[in-house]
Point group: C2
Chain length 457, copies 2
Amino acid sequence: MSTTINRYIEEHKDRFINELFDLLRIPSISADSKFKDDVLKAANFVRDKLIAIGVDKAEVIATPGHPVVYGEKILDPALPTILVYGHYDVQPPDPYELWDSPPFEPVIKDDNIYARGAADDKGQFYMHIKAFEAMLQTNSLTCNVKFMIEGEEEVGSDNLEGFLRENKEMLKSDVILISDTSIISVDTPSITIGLKGLSYLEVELTGPNRDLHSGIYGGGVANPINVLCEMIASLKDENNRITIPGFYDKVVDLSEEERSELARAPFDLQAYMDDLDLDGVDGEHGYSTLERTGIRPTLDVNGIWGGYIGEGAKTVLPSKAYAKISMRLVPNQDSEEITKLFKQHFEAIAPNTVKVKVTPHHGGQPYITPVNSIAFKAASMAFEQAWGKKPVPTRDGGSIPIVALFDEVLKINTVLLGFGLDSDAIHSPNEKYGILNFVKGIETIALFHQHFAALKK
Amino acid sequence: MSTTINRYIEEHKDRFINELFDLLRIPSISADSKFKDDVLKAANFVRDKLIAIGVDKAEVIATPGHPVVYGEKILDPALPTILVYGHYDVQPPDPYELWDSPPFEPVIKDDNIYARGAADDKGQFYMHIKAFEAMLQTNSLTCNVKFMIEGEEEVGSDNLEGFLRENKEMLKSDVILISDTSIISVDTPSITIGLKGLSYLEVELTGPNRDLHSGIYGGGVANPINVLCEMIASLKDENNRITIPGFYDKVVDLSEEERSELARAPFDLQAYMDDLDLDGVDGEHGYSTLERTGIRPTLDVNGIWGGYIGEGAKTVLPSKAYAKISMRLVPNQDSEEITKLFKQHFEAIAPNTVKVKVTPHHGGQPYITPVNSIAFKAASMAFEQAWGKKPVPTRDGGSIPIVALFDEVLKINTVLLGFGLDSDAIHSPNEKYGILNFVKGIETIALFHQHFAALKK
């Protein structure tokens, strides 16, 4: 049966890729209101493709923000139901000048598709739509399928919770599948069983009420950039542990066995550093690099600015300094609580020479997939069959905040069935997605449907 | 005699101001190559005005950069010669949106002229041209006068040293006058007897060779913004002393009498803070605010940037982080040596997780006017006569690097005869210059010529 599906996939591969190219051409940048029309255009495109593959119904459902595309095929109410989540919006592509080819003009180079959104998330969720087509066309659909593809993931999915709460009945399913993560390599398939949470804040320091001449006032008036640097530097101690009081209180440390299991993932530190042209890495003392990115909470300044940043020299003592700061969280840290702890601490450590404004952005809770679930077993079997190896379980540093939301609101577990690679450079210039990953991903998805239906009998 | 001059000034005041407005309208921004033509336009304007007031000759002299305007009137080679230095270029006006009126459309509000360059330096050097006109027209010129008005002061006067060396004979004088500083207030006239030096550098930190996803790599790869903050924070200790090894070695501490003399300057800390909307000030422990800005070396970050600084949230771990850092120096610190010490230290404290690039910008040496000189005495007498009070000697935090250059190359002392106010907001939006300061300044300059000639007999 799977050979029939695979043959279908092979036969229609070029058309699949052309359709994906059409989707990639739409600059559906949710963070930038200038692209509002393109975001809607992408939603309509997805709905049209769902209709084309033969769902019972597909619609673009409005929200207070960008719409959600919903589609479903109910083969037989008695069968298990798989809900596919994805997002048709993409990250901003800047800096444009670092792209080798334009971000919204997809090209194939070395069997990779280069475009913003190729891996995150268009190339990945589109595999589910093509897998459905392949199964339906070869008469091998084994489960009911529902699709929920939203347009605000890159900006926090602010309206998704409302959508979930209003449509609980419609969204009832046995498992949610998300393809928005990566495997270790094409030789070492893996399944992400853990995602970090996220806390994101913007801080603004104000010193004097206007920009000043740094000769006349320098030394006498505290410079908010210098103060911001000192405050940020104080957020970690000499062991690179975050100094916010209470930050680590709810962290559940991994057991020795769990740490060994995760350490199965092959990791070459020298290759890692060479890939990034680094002479050294650093992080929380007492943990390996993979543990630091995978199972430990972290803090990064994502952006900083203040004063004169143009060409040449300007001797200004600026009025303001700003930073965007985010923390990745692990179970059982709570995103809202961490945001509050950060805000309280940052305001408390500010000297009286500046005023501090802390503005929280969207956040998200950490999440773990239960590995003894039928869904996880089906995924593991599907991977083994398609890729020839049992997948390694990994804990990802990234956050997909709505996964915890699905658990809380819909009471449905999620399996992260991602096929990307770390080198895909998501959120960076020259994002790519491998054609091999795309094709094998469709095969794996179809196998998941099979195994899931079989295990559920 | 001075009453005749003052009457002339009063009679022609409006025309003087209109001419100054014409000069202020020219956006002679030396830091930005887009305004190259306007810089030349301003030079030509100044030359034309010099010709109009009756100098023997005036010309726009080309340099590898922006030209120098030179003019002279030799009344009698036996008389003392005064050389007037000024600059017709201005600071960039950004941020434009904070100006109440456009920076290059001068307006009068509350007896102040608002425009970029009003006080720094067009309004100030133009007083010398009008004082010359007033003296010549009332037959009361007492000294030979030379004018040297350059166009690169705001970007480091890179070509001035060459100009001085090539024209030593032409520039021979008994004193150099510069009007580019301020008085304490219209009720408390003062003369700046000391200027700080300047060391200005740009630093660039590179971590990974590309922007990364802060979830996938955060915690495992050092974030160059975090590292930059830590390095900048380490440049001062808990007493706000700069930690660069050797930084203070050549500083000549003031004697107790010198500190008392400078403390004569009235200073209201609460008013100072209220003017800037500050709840507190901070600086090097053991020194007052005026001492910190006037006689102590300082360090300020003038600009900082890195990562995502646009609208909304982007979870990037950036490849690079940048800062513009400057230090104000006091006698006998050497600008080139301090620049070298900073570079060595900054490179040494960088962890192996980043690569550092340090690029020096223009600098300048500190300077002290000898108060027992004839020129200083003439200035003091001129101030007392025009303003009704003996001027207080002050040490300014600003730098006019070429003052030390004049001393070194031309072997001529400089008297800083400035009439601005700290509230003029030079280098900031809404720069202004008082009409009273402009008019009284012209009167004081004419009196200086008188007293200088008399003392020199």
